[in-house]
Assembly symmetry: C4
Amino acid sequence: MKNSYNKIAGHDIGRMVAISDAVFGVAMTLLVLEIKVPEVHGNDKELAIAFLKLMPKFLVYFLSFITAGIFWMGQAAQLEHIKKSDRNLIWINLLFLLFVSVLPFTTAFLGDYIDHNFAIGIYWLNIFLLGLMLYINWTYATRHGFIEQEIEAGVSEAIKRRIVVSQSLYLGGALLCFINSYLAIAVIIAIELNYAFAFFKGRR
Amino acid sequence: MKNSYNKIAGHDIGRMVAISDAVFGVAMTLLVLEIKVPEVHGNDKELAIAFLKLMPKFLVYFLSFITAGIFWMGQAAQLEHIKKSDRNLIWINLLFLLFVSVLPFTTAFLGDYIDHNFAIGIYWLNIFLLGLMLYINWTYATRHGFIEQEIEAGVSEAIKRRIVVSQSLYLGGALLCFINSYLAIAVIIAIELNYAFAFFKGRR
Amino acid sequence: MKNSYNKIAGHDIGRMVAISDAVFGVAMTLLVLEIKVPEVHGNDKELAIAFLKLMPKFLVYFLSFITAGIFWMGQAAQLEHIKKSDRNLIWINLLFLLFVSVLPFTTAFLGDYIDHNFAIGIYWLNIFLLGLMLYINWTYATRHGFIEQEIEAGVSEAIKRRIVVSQSLYLGGALLCFINSYLAIAVIIAIELNYAFAFFKGRR
Amino acid sequence: MKNSYNKIAGHDIGRMVAISDAVFGVAMTLLVLEIKVPEVHGNDKELAIAFLKLMPKFLVYFLSFITAGIFWMGQAAQLEHIKKSDRNLIWINLLFLLFVSVLPFTTAFLGDYIDHNFAIGIYWLNIFLLGLMLYINWTYATRHGFIEQEIEAGVSEAIKRRIVVSQSLYLGGALLCFINSYLAIAVIIAIELNYAFAFFKGRR
């Protein structure tokens, strides 16, 4: 029975894509609920000061958004080449989405305890698990022939190499917390921004 | 009038799929709002302890996500074969989505009262209603000829049998609460994980 | 300039459908956040009593879901026949979605003040505005030739008549609040359930 | 490596559209959570007074919805002509969505401090950044040949001109705050409503 069900379940890549966009869309927008309008009784200057105090929350929100964007693009790049799926591949992607959903929490956790190595470790763990699921996703899909035929030989390796390289950088950055936690954060942020905004350099 | 409206309403399976993905995506992500960043004034060790205290909430979140994933896949597997719909079929699916939406509540309810038979009963009821709606969905669709022609004879029976078997297991697990509530939970979780991660075994 | 922009804006019905499903999906799921797990220190019986006290909230949630479902289907039935759009038609649909978004509020408002005519009036107003926008939507689309050619003559009239008849029933139900507010609610609920579950009768 | 990845990432406009609809849908609906059912112990008149006190919140919600709708349509009008994408274009759109997500915050901020120039400035900044991203989006897409071939010469200029004209109007409106803050708000609202509901005039 299990086999026959496995056969019928989840061939439709379209639904996997749709649930991914829904989860990413909600996760990307939810955090804004954490930024509350400050209560101020005063003039413009005092309001501006109260607003500036929210900057760390906006920064955390921004980072959460960038991280989500990076992994959304990473998954999109893979799914563009994946033409078929089975139950296993869907569960790999659902677990990936699970780690997307907790991203707002781990980013907020980091925002509140930016000088604690433990918070950096948890944040790094989330990024690591996201990368791991993408790696498993691609490996599983290639091994089971779910990839489109006409893919260039180099692309498959490039996808895997990219994950390994970026994850090594994230790990290296996180380990810097034993020297200085702010340094670790700064390096992780720099790596993220580098991946997200590489095009600023690439355009010249 | 009712008949003519019935004819024009809801032939588009695509919208039924889209609203399902939206509801599932939101339900899967909403619960993370319940996990609040703890307030700690101390060093890394104290922060780690505060974080570990959140583990039950993460476990509940994980379970909620897995249960949603199981039924999302179950519905997807059915809708892949259903090529037409009428108003009734859409309402069956909307009721199914209603029970998806309350899943975060019942899971959290279970998480808070894990040693109460009543909470186990409510959680089981939710799973039962989800399974019931899927069963009604498939039965209605097959009886009214909404299924694609080329479906293999065995598939239709396999879908129904799968629901009955899994629901019997869930019921059996829930009834174990009269011996020991933790045993009941453990068995329900084991059944869920078995359905979700069956592939770990299947791959060998 | 306005004309040339009007020409380029919004021909894609697909996006209008997608934003509708997103708004409906979120609105349908959001309300569950209002149902909090009760805090109980006691045995199963006490937990069951605390749970039963949540029943009005679940009823309100159920009603909100049904109302959303009715209007989601109403819009879907129209959009199935609408093949083109312009900026105006999109704004009509966005206003429709605005009234979908406030539905959770008005339903909760009714739930808390079920014995106040004012709350019944607000709830009725919401239903009325939803129906009004659907009526405007269909009228505008037919007048501007956005409907598919092959539509049967009777269908267009049936869609409009259906809105007028159901809205008259809702208004009549709401006016009963001057006799007894509970009677008004009961009749509105009965009308909704009749539209939603008409098929239970229709199948015999 | 970066180039080869750039080649494989993000050609699928469909996902960019889907994540946009998800973010817009959530952002448009989230704010309703801020409108709480008032607690009143009294008759209909007192309930009506409590309800009327919520009007500013409803107005803010309405404005937030209209602004989101304006920019949703603006993006949709552009994406209709954009047939290809690369990583850069996707990031431009993700940043656009970032500014969509904070819209509920800035609108609520304005609602609470409607007589402070600073709040008007922040609100204007949000609108400006949304317009800026749309301008960059279109400029980038045209320069890199991602636009469909058959576009009329005038359309591309009309899209850019429209952004510049509307943004100039918003800036002019915002600057009026140095005369009177309510006047500035009123003019911004008037500009928004003019863009949203231009059709009321256009139909005559």
